[in-house]
């Protein structure tokens, strides 16, 4: 018995030493981290890249935009990822962090647009909302007739505006940890709050107090946090025709047989409207490339080329089939040119 145990310990030691040997070998596989919203698209490109025989299929991690930036900016060298996905533009703090850690040359590529949609069951009554109404339905505090902030009194949609359906307000959406939630606040709640003259005045007078107004969602059960998984929201909407859900356009497109989008200010969340910028609840998606790794880790330039190619990024490309809304043609051409030329981001373009 003792011999067996000693043999096992030895095996463990061998495995351990193998680890360090492995770490010393140069990396020949692209590593990507970042947003779970961009993940479905980057993985599709990674798979195509791998199939085309240009190199090993990149490893794509789903860490969230913030977590991805942290890893990306940790430094240069093969222990650090080459590319990060982001569902928003890089922040000033993150950019400075990158610079401090020696990640000097960053290439920003806008890969497409994601429509943040409010959707409902096909069996529900057609709805047309404004961002102001969304704010009224979901904010913790709303202005009353005199513009004074009061705790949200609305229980039914029809109390906000008689033309809205006469049903209880019930909206399923992402939890605060999600990047989709951040976008929802910025695209819907902030803009909705600004539609009130008194709140607009508040923004000028006391921007901190204003931020608090649009960043707080009511906690009395009208807004239901459904977890990070958007499919859970989809299933709940299919079961309850009076509920509304918040998620990315790709989920609406994929589940178009059972769900329909809610128009925002008269514009339905449809492919063309989002692409043209008419739909108000849309946000751009990015990938950031570490230029210092190009040429060191093989294939990064080829991968970027694949990402911005016509067959991937255009309106008929395979990313559009996965639910990404393509950029308008001229913008796409510009993005393609600067991406292939590896134009780096300068500090004054970040805010």
């Amino acid at each position: 018995m003792s011999n067996k145990l000693i043999a096992m310990t030895a095996a463990a030691a061998v495995v351990g030493s193998f680890a360090f040997a492995g770490a010393a070998v140069a990396r020949d596989q692209i590593r990507i981290v970042g947003s779970s919203t961009v993940y479905p698209f980057t993985t599709a490109v990674a798979e195509q890249f791998g199939k085309s025989g240009a190199g090993k299929t990149p490893v794509v991690e789903s860490t969230g935009t913030g977590g991805g930036m942290k890893l990306f900016c940790a430094g240069v060298g093969e222990a650090n990822p080459d590319i990060t996905n982001a569902s928003r533009a890089i922040k000033k703090g993150e950019f400075e962090d990158c610079q401090k850690n020696g990640v000097k040359d960053i290439v920003e590529i806008k890969v497409g647009i994601d429509g943040l949609t409010i959707a409902q069951s096909k069996n529900g009554a057609d709805t047309n909302l404004t961002r102001q109404q969304v704010f009224q339905a979901l904010a913790e505090q709303v202005p009353d007739k005199d513009g004074k902030l009061i705790p949200n009194p609305y229980k039914k949609w029809s109390e906000i505006d008689p033309s809205l359906p006469d049903v209880k307000i019930e909206v399923l959406g992402p939890p605060p940890t999600s990047g989709t939630r951040d976008s929802f606040h910025e695209l819907f709640m902030e803009k909705g709050a600004e539609a009130f003259p008194t709140l607009k005045a508040l923004k000028k007078a006391d921007s901190k107090a204003f931020d608090k107004v649009w960043k707080s969602i009511r906690k009395d059960g009208a807004y239901v946090e459904a977890g990070e998984n958007d499919n859970v929201i989809v299933q709940k909407l299919e079961a309850n025709k009076d509920a509304y859900g918040i998620f990315g356009y790709s989920f609406l497109e994929e589940n178009g047989a059972n769900l329909k989008g809610v128009s925002i200010e008269g514009v339905e969340p449809e492919y063309d409207a989002i692409s043209a910028g008419k739909y108000k609840g849309a946000r751009p998606l990015f990938i950031y490339v570490k230029k210092q790794h190009v040429g060191v880790v093989p294939g990064i330039d080829k991968f970027v080329e694949e990402y911005v190619s016509e067959k991937a990024m255009s309106k008929d490309g395979y990313l559009a089939r996965k639910g990404l809304v393509a950029l308008p043609k001229e913008e796409a051409d510009k993005v393609r040119e600067s991406a292939i030329g590896m134009k780096t981001l300068s500090a004054d373009l970040v805010n």
Binding site: M8, F18, A19, G22, A44, A46, P162, E254
Partner: protein, 577 residues
Amino acid sequence: MTDITASDAARVRRVDVTSSAAKARIRARYRREARFKLYGLAALSLAAVFVVVLIGDVLSRGLPAFWQYSLVLDVHVDPAAVSSGGKVDEASIRSADFYPLTKAALESMFPGELSRKAQKQLVRLVSTDAAMPLRDELVANPSLVGTTVKTPLILSATSDLYYKGAGTQIESREMRGIATPSGTSGEITVLSSANDFADALVHLKQRIAEQARSLRSEADRLELFAGDTVTARVKALRDEAEKLQQRVDQPKVEEELDNKMPSLLIAIDGGLMKITKLSDVSATGIVLLPLRSTDEAKPGTWQLVTYETPESNRKVTDQDVAFLERFKQLGHVEQSFNWTFLTAGDSREPELAGIRGALVGTALTLVVTLVLCLPIGVMAAIYLEEFAPKGRLTDIIEVNINNLAAVPSIVFGLLGLAVFLNFFGMPRSAPLVGGITLGLLVLPTIIIASRAALKAVPPSIKEAALGVGASHQQAIFHHVLPLAMPGIMTGTIIGMAHALGETAPLLMIGMIAFIVDIPHGFTDAATVLPVQIYLWSDLPEVAFKSKTAAAIIVLLMFLFVMNGAAIWLRKRFERRW
């Protein structure tokens, strides 16, 4: 005498079991017991119901994913397409583009003119890597190049789901008149000698009337409220309802169909036309499948086909349904076991995605965990139980081992990130790091189980060994440890099963990732089964829902096998004394 009996009677408490009060007490006791048994039974059956519902749900969703429909077609393998530099070898076949071959094979199914749009849709019915089975066949047997091979083409996930029932009900009705189509492709009109379309038209008008009614009731509801926005909306609704009503009131006027109503089609002369405009004697529409000729069709040889689910309520278009139904009619569709699911790595195309990468990753990770944990855990248990001097220090260690067993698993992930990745510089996403991290997680479980197993060996065994002159170490290793082994094995396997289900610690060390290549070593990038399930459950494609459930089935099987092994080992080595 009587005194004594009296005092005896006073001292001995007599219980009269025949009194009605006593009988009631006894009955109450029995009732209490019966009630308790009932509670137990109820709890058990409730638990059983939960398990049955859970397993039933997973099986009903997941089992279809183990079967896959494919399209068996004759594909002509053009030597030019699979050769590079005039030579045909394995490399050239593997790197060849099979798209033109599959496209040609698909189009040869539909002689006649297909519109460009229809051609495009036809190709989308099959997977982006539809010719995978053909490629494997050619690699195995290169002499097939230049011949026509009967081969299955993998269908796209949407088409696969259509055959699995996520499509539409189809109804077909024979027609009485003589029909004359005006063309074989593009937009055509079919005239009928009898008023064949009248029924369909009546049906259509009824639906429109219904729509108008619902618009009017919505307007009535809104009218109860005042306000400018409402008045405008009410007016718009009323106008729309009025327009619809006009259409209903003129029964002979032709009607246009939209994608919110069931689709009407005409199957005639071997082709299929989708009706866009309908009157009681003629129908105008777009040809989905080309007609053989513009011959007159006799009564009973042509049909009016209805796709019950409106086009906007399903994922497949009318054109898709037309193609897929034709394939089925001609017997080209076959269902077979989905080997791809068990042999392929991850993919973003549901029909090509497989579980093997995650399965191998799980095995590699668990091997590292086992190799690390079993010796360290057992040694630590033996030392603590048999050799360590009893004292304050040992107590502190004991308490901390018990505490460690209750630490949330994400904490171990953070530890793994800080120590193994950042300090030791080990590779990200590697089963090695995953295994070590999970090893830390299950180590306390194994130590506690091993100590319990060692403690359960009767002291007489050790004492007998010591009595005949064995050293302490000999007594432990030769006599106590073998007897404790079944218990240690059980504890280890329960610990491993725990590790098998963990995802949280793996997030921090980069194993929650999209990895296509199947890992070959402990430092290759890999992921594990529960992570694969989590990742698939979050993807938008509907087909991944059943893949997720199928992956859960595989994970459950893995668990059953491990627990089965635990039971077998225990039975095999168990000794009674």
